[in-house]
């Protein structure tokens, strides 16, 4: 399941909803990304996205995770709009029989989301505002899954 929304999310409530009535799950991993301040320089973060393509990309990434790992359930929630330091940005939940699949799938989802979901962050503060630049490390992290995939073939 994927969701793109302006509102905040409640991690506990999301996990409870995802796993309600299920007794086949043995491992649940959650990842939450939050707005980070750099030494008081960030007062606001605005997240722009590409409505339509965002949902398509998140669904595509989630389907790929489900094809790679035996997941009982998964959830990606990503916020957009105006956020402040400490606010939630993204939630990834993966549930499987055993922990390895849940851990790996959660990391995969985040690594791929960071390089392919069409979101852009703009930080504003006393020093003005700027578009956040993509980090080379993010592309490397996503590429590593690519290599693992090829190595397994």
């Amino acid at each position: 399941m994927i969701r793109v929304q302006q509102e905040d999310f409640d991690i506990g409530a999301e996990v409870a909803k995802l796993t309600a009535g299920r007794t086949d799950i043995g491992a649940i991993v959650t990842f939450t990304g939050t707005v980070r301040d750099h030494d008081g320089a960030v007062e606001e973060m605005t997240l722009e996205h590409y409505p339509g393509m965002t949902e398509r990309e998140l669904s595509r990434i989630e389907a790929e995770a489900q094809a790679r790992w035996p997941l009982q359930a998964s959830l990606v929630v990503h916020r957009y709009g105006m956020l402040r330091p400490g606010d939630n940005i993204v939630l990834v939940v993966t549930a499987s029989e055993h922990r390895d699949a849940a851990f790996d799938a959660a990391k995969f989802l985040m690594d791929y989301l960071k390089t392919s979901a069409p979101f852009w962050k703009r930080e504003s503060g006393s020093g003005g505002s700027r578009w956040v630049e993509a980090e080379a490390g993010d592309a490397d992290a996503a590429a590593r899954w690519h290599k693992r995939n090829h190595a397994a073939e």
């Binding site: 996205h49 590409y50 339509g52 393509m53 398509r56 993204v90 392919s116 852009w120 993509a134």
Partner: protein, 83 residues
């Protein structure tokens, strides 16, 4: 065809979307960028570092050598920074 711009590409171009009739000799994304750059200084500025600009055809990521074909919607944007 509908063109969409996001983040700093949108700010430099000056608008978020537009309907355009592209010339028949424009077959690829790279050729579309070259044509856009000829439309005015705001486009030349927005696409100055064209190698860093990402493109999507009908909401799927593509490379600059992708053919436009019968695309309904083409978007240009900087590398993504979500998560």
């Amino acid at each position: 065809m509908r063109l969409l711009y996001f983040a700093w590409v949108k700010e430099k171009v000056g608008h978020a979307s537009e309907e355009v009739a592209i010339p028949e000799n424009v077959a690829t994304v790279a050729e579309l960028i070259a044509w856009l750059k000829s439309r005015g200084p705001e486009f030349a500025n927005a696409f100055e570092r064209e190698q860093v600009i990402r493109a999507a055809i009908d909401q799927s990521h593509v490379r600059h050598d992708a053919r436009i074909g019968h695309a309904r919607e083409i978007a240009f944007f900087p590398p993504v920074t979500g998560g």
